[in-house]
């Protein structure tokens, strides 16, 4: 639970500072750069963790299939979820209210 609170605090803190200190007109190139570097480090670390774990390497096939199955159902579920919401909100296929 501690990790959840930590991440939440960082997100909220960032949003608070961003809304007070930064402008939405100016382009802050460093934001994108920091995000990019962070992604690279995270993905590298994830890769190292995966590569160094024998159980993961030995079950890569199963992991691949599991990922695929979750993907199929998650995407299908999302589409259904939005479809239901759209019908309940009485919005048509183009995203406009039905009484238009």
């Amino acid at each position: 639970m501690l990790d959840l609170i930590l991440y939440l605090i960082m997100l909220v803190l960032g949003a608070f500072v961003g809304s007070k200190v930064l402008s939405d007109e100016k382009e802050y190139k460093w934001i994108g750069k920091i995000q990019f570097v962070a992604i690279i480090i995270l993905v590298l670390a994830i890769g190292i963790r995966i590569g160094s774990d024998d159980r993961v390497i030995s079950s890569l096939g199963d992991i691949g299939i599991s990922s695929l199955i979750v993907t199929v159902f998650a995407i299908a579920g999302s589409i259904c979820g939005v479809y239901i919401v759209r019908k309940l909100m009485k919005v048509n296929r183009e995203g406009l209210p039905k009484d238009d």
């Binding site: 960032g14 809304s19 670390a45 995966i50 159902f73």
Partner: protein
């Protein structure tokens, strides 16, 4: 995924497989936690400075917030159903699906729970983003404009945005942007929450 990211994954996996000693592997955990905090702070900065988001929501109506709600619930239910078919637990399958395309964040959070689940999360979220983007024009035509926002997950606010705008309309592009922001805020909350329930 950009070339740099693909290269990083490959370098990481090969390094981890061939030579990185266990001590360094252990060290990745605190590094990841630190980088995650920095990453989330900067994401927060980016979201916080978008003063148009609130006015966008007001303009299109607060009902737009039901879109991310539908996506989240649909995704998690889909993840649960998938869990029934897989050797991992249902909760684990749900937490994998909860990444909703954010392949640099969700597996990093899940690293401390289980390397296997983290690996599945990584592959799944990459697939979600890639297949999602590919499906956008098809779903836009066959099912509906709003539904195609749900496909790629969190990247509907940036990477997938041009594709969504192309296949739909500028109105829907705004819904997509707002949805992406809500998802980007939700994922770092939902994933650790569900992980603690695994």
């Amino acid at each position: 995924m950009t070339k740099a990211i693909v290269i990083s994954v490959i370098v990481g996996v090969l390094s981890g497989y061939f030579f990185v000693p266990d001590i360094i592997v252990e060290f990745t955990q605190p590094v990841v936690t630190f980088v995650l905090c920095l990453f989330l702070f900067v994401i927060g900065l980016d979201i916080g400075r978008q003063k148009t988001v609130l006015s966008d929501i007001k303009r299109v109506g607060f009902r737009v917030l039901f879109i991310p709600l539908g996506i989240i619930i649909g995704t998690l239910v889909g993840g649960a159903v998938a869990g029934l078919l897989l050797p991992i637990t249902i909760m684990e399958s749900v937490v994998v699906s909860a990444g909703m395309g954010w392949y640099s964040l969700a597996p990093a959070i899940l690293m401390e729970y289980s390397p296997t689940i983290s690996a599945i999360s990584f592959l799944h979220n990459v697939m979600r983003e890639v297949f999602g983007i590919i499906l956008i024009p098809i779903i836009a035509k066959r099912v509906g404009f709003i539904e195609c926002i749900s496909l790629p997950g969190a990247s509907c606010m940036d990477i997938a945005m041009p594709m969504i705008k192309n296949a739909t309309s500028s109105n829907v592009a705004i819904y997509s942007f707002v949805t992406g922001i809500v998802l980007s805020i939700s994922i770092p909350i939902i994933v650790p929450l569900l992980m603690n329930l695994c």
